[in-house]
Symmetry: C2
Subunit: 108 residues, 2 copies
DNA sequence: TGCTTAATTAAGATTAAGCTTAATTATTAG
DNA sequence: CTAATAATTAAGCTTAATCTTAATTAAGCA
């Protein structure tokens, strides 16, 4: 269970949020923060080790994207504590559906 | 967003797992680990600050139980990264329903 | 009352996380 | 080939996390 450890850091959570919008190069991510490029690179190492992010090369750029594997790991942990979590997940799922329906009504 | 930080530690994750089965006193939790009582007490402080655990007194015992608030915070974060996560949540939700149905068939 | 049990807070040591600058690798452009 | 760009790895520093033992609080019981 590395993925929850990876998401403990606020900078790494922000990286995941940015990548959930769209893929970005390491350099683009650096511009979004006030810390050095090596610091971002190290955070990406952690996210990669946790299976949350995948990196592919495009010339001298490194394109970062979110990876399903790390999310599955969190899902699996949620299942183990399911007795308590499941009701909450049901509620969340309903909220998501309601929001989706609302969004679809606005832009069908 | 303290709850993801609280769940970064493996001991605290285990505490949450144990409490998802049933409420336990601080002393019962201590017996489940190889670390000192003060260490467990400190972990419970973190979980309490994150809103994941509630503590109520019963005489000289302190009964620990899981709290909905911390889980809601994680749910909210999942919503912010929803674009990517929602499909995963749908899948997880289906799995949970399938397992529930199976369990209900065994013991109706 | 005083003694025991349950749990906490306090203080200090050790380890690990996260940041920096400097050096290194690899790719593109002149 | 050389210089510039993109990103990484390496080394070292600082702060924060986690554990320990010792001291403290509070409740139950002879």
């Amino acid at each position: 269970m590395h993925s929850l450890e990876a998401l403990a850091d606020p900078t790494r959570r922000r990286i995941v949020e940015l990548l959930s919008e769209r893929e970005r190069t390491a350099g683009e991510l650096v511009e979004s923060f006030d810390i050095s490029a090596p610091a971002i690179s190290q955070h990406l190492n952690v996210l990669r080790a946790a299976g949350l992010v995948s990196t592919r090369a495009d010339g001298q750029r490194r394109i970062q994207s979110l990876n399903r594997a790390g999310l599955d790991e969190i899902g699996r942990w949620l299942e183990t504590t399911r007795a308590f979590w499941s009701r909450r997940l049901d509620t969340l799922e309903r909220e998501l559906r309601a929001e989706d329906a609302k969004a679809r009504r606005k832009s069908p």
